[in-house]
């Protein structure tokens, strides 16, 4: 086996490494701080691998072209930040309903509006879930270190291909721009999933075949001529007004993620066994939380950390289990309580749930978390 390569990488550069490892061969996007380094990296690397890169005229064009690339059979990605993520929402809904695999990276910055482009935030947690209209499945991953950005980007591609759905990678500006040592994985070290290809003859092919929960997707130009529309459609891909078919399809696209949530969920649990107060958080805030937990333990406080790497679908089971045996769950986040709402929903009053928020473009510090936890003891 080749010797492993260790590099000092910025989070956004690690994202590029992860995408290429996962087989991404198409990128379309639009410049936006603090995600631009992803696009710059892809513009250099993709042509060397026979892949395609294009800088589009706007954010909508970026995601639309990436969806076109994916439909033509290439694993595709786009990246953006808050305001651009807002613009991409119509195409995210389109990807959900038409079931086109895509990875969307959102390097979160302060908002609303143009907000604070160079400051970190976690204010797109709810936008990721509810940004596009209509009920739709959402998978969103929340890495917390630079090496994790690489591995979670690989996982995002695998999930997008397996579930035929857009998958988001959410991390904040701190992670996008911080540098950490990253080991570039060797080929074969991580599983790389490809979308299922049809096994039937073109004349028997349905792009949304009722026989499957997730039907195989033939690439355009492969001899399987089919129709794709953002209208509610039948298994053959053509529009329908049949209320039964509309209902079944709307439920199925939710179900394909919902019944597989156990395999999509991924949590890190730090000293939860005897914890009396648990911190629930993601991204860069989880780094402060980990430090705070260690400090709290040193002074005899039974603190723990529950850190989801999959924020959507929300880790209901883990939060429900913890809420039944701790005094409080503290939710530090770089917004005004988006994850806290979800924790409250799941905890159902079984323990105290307290948010710790910051929206001034500065990170939540370990000492802020330390003092917040001590209030509950």
């Amino acid at each position: 086996m080749a010797e492993k390569k260790k590099k000092l990488l910025q989070g956004n550069e690690a994202c590029v490494e992860g995408a290429l490892y996962a087989g991404c061969r198409f990128y379309a996007g639009y410049p936006i701080t603090p995600s631009t380094e992803i696009m710059e990296g892809m513009s250099v690397r993709l042509p060397k691998l026979g892949g395609k890169f294009i800088q589009m005229e706007d954010e909508i064009g970026g995601i639309a072209a990436a969806l076109g690339g994916s439909l033509a059979g290439l694993k595709s990605m786009t990246a953006t930040s808050g305001p651009g993520f807002s613009l991409k929402q119509e195409c995210i809904g389109y990807a959900c309903l038409t079931e086109i695999p895509l990875v969307i990276v959102d390097v979160m910055r302060g908002g609303p509006s143009t907000g604070y482009p160079t400051g970190p935030s976690q204010s797109d947690i709810m936008q990721a879930k509810w940004g596009t209209h209509g009920d739709h499945p959402v998978i969103a991953l929340t890495p917390s270190t630079v090496p994790e950005i690489l591995t979670e980007t690989i996982r995002a591609f695998n999930l997008a291909e397996q579930f035929r759905t857009p998958v988001m990678v959410l991390y904040d500006e701190i992670l996008g721009h911080m540098r950490e040592p990253v080991t570039i994985p060797n080929p074969g070290e991580f599983a790389v999933e490809d979308r299922a290809k049809p096994e039937v003859k073109p004349e028997d092919y349905y792009p949304y075949d009722d026989k499957f929960l997730i039907a195989p997707l033939a690439p355009f130009g492969s001899g399987y001529r089919f129709h794709v529309t953002g209208l509610n459609h039948k298994q053959d891909g053509f529009p329908t007004n049949d209320s039964k078919v509309i209902r079944e399809n709307n439920l199925r696209i939710m179900r394909k993620v919902d019944i597989n949530r156990e395999t999509i969920w991924k949590n890190e649990e730090v000293m939860l066994d005897d914890a009396e107060v648990v911190i629930f958080t993601v991204g860069s805030t989880a780094r402060s939380a980990r430090f705070a937990v260690n400090e709290l333990r040193k002074v005899g406080v039974k603190a723990g950390l529950l850190r989801p790497l999959t924020i959507w679908p929300f880790p209901d089971r883990a939060v429900a289990e913890i809420s039944s045996r701790v005094k409080a769950i503290i939710v530090p986040e770089l917004n005004l309580g988006q994850m806290t709402l979800e924790v409250e929903r799941v905890a159902k009053g079984r323990c105290a749930v307290e948010g710790l928020y910051r929206v001034d473009g500065e990170p939540i510090t370990p000492s802020q978390i330390f003092h917040e936890v001590r209030k509950y003891l």
């Binding site: 379309a28 072209a65 076109g68 129709h227």
Partner: protein
């Protein structure tokens, strides 16, 4: 009243087996009686046939609106996208698979209002995509609002007192944006349209055909046209003049008329070819 040159010389290639390209079980189409979209669809299919394109290799991409329903009726790789977004989706397909023939069917509102930015940038890149703009000067799907090509003073459901916004000249905009093939046709001049679309799809680079195609249901009724045929004659036949004939006509005969035929055609390196030869080769030489 003069008969266009092209119609004197050529005949419709009938009988033509449209079913070779249609999805008969998806018909009837949604278009109103008197609408020209079906005529344009037929001209497009004859042009595709004449070009000898393989069905498996054609991607027909559209946005939202009446004309954007076209892909559903034809047996290609068909993609009905979002309002205004046909061109970036098509750009993604073309760049990912340059061997495919990518054709966009779009309306004037879809292409020039909500999709205007994508339109000018697709032209600027000169990516090998054919854009057929079905120009009926109205938003038909939503019931007849004024569009970017609605003439001044026309009545629409959102311009009851007359339209005060000057219309775009789609061809001038395409040319100014960098498209290397720009033409105009009408649903009335069927044979000429077939020829023009054929020339567009065999051109390498961004080709735009502005197709004047009246909407009798909304634009026609609101503006007191007596019938679909009267509307076609007034707007498409008498309101346009072939660019070759125009050269020999005095200015007063051309006043208020739109030019038909190939209005602009130049050779310029195509985007996907440049990507292969300039970007990929340089990137690999640098390894």
């Amino acid at each position: 009243m003069s008969t266009p040159v092209a119609e004197k010389k050529e005949k419709l290639s009938v009988p033509f087996d449209y079913n070779k390209y249609l999805r008969p079980n998806k018909l009837p189409h949604i278009w109103c009686p008197g609408c020209g979209h079906g005529i344009v669809l037929k001209a497009m299919l004859r042009a595709i046939d004449k070009a000898g394109l393989d069905k498996n290799n054609i991607a027909l991409v559209s946005g939202i609106g009446c004309s954007s329903r076209t892909p559903g009726y034809v047996d290609f790789n068909t993609l009905h996208t979002l309002h205004g977004r046909a061109l970036p989706f098509a750009t993604g397909i073309k760049l990912a698979k340059p061997e495919m023939k990518v054709i966009v069917v779009t309306g004037d509102g879809d292409a020039l209002a909500i999709g205007g930015n994508h339109f000018i940038h697709a032209c600027r890149r000169n990516i090998d995509i054919t854009v057929l703009v079905f120009t009926n000067a109205t938003y038909g799907m939503t019931g007849g609002q004024y569009s970017p090509t609605t003439p001044l003073e026309s009545i629409a459901t959102t311009s009851r007192y007359g339209n005060i916004e000057p219309p775009f000249d789609t061809c001038e905009m395409a040319k100014a944006s960098g498209a290397t093939f720009v033409a105009r046709g009408t649903a009335y001049h069927t044979i000429e349209l077939e020829k023009t679309i054929h020339e567009a799809i065999t051109h390498k680079g961004t080709s735009v055909v502005d197709i004047i195609d009246a909407c009798p249901t909304y634009f026609g009724r609101a503006n007191k046209f007596k019938s679909a045929t009267q509307m076609m004659e007034e707007i498409e036949k008498d309101g346009t003049v072939n660019v070759k004939q125009a050269a020999s006509l005095p200015p007063e005969k051309l006043a208020g008329k739109m030019l038909r035929g190939v209005l602009h055609k130049v050779e310029r390196p195509e985007y996907c070819e440049k990507y292969e030869t300039l970007i990929m080769e340089k990137a690999n030489a640098k390894k």
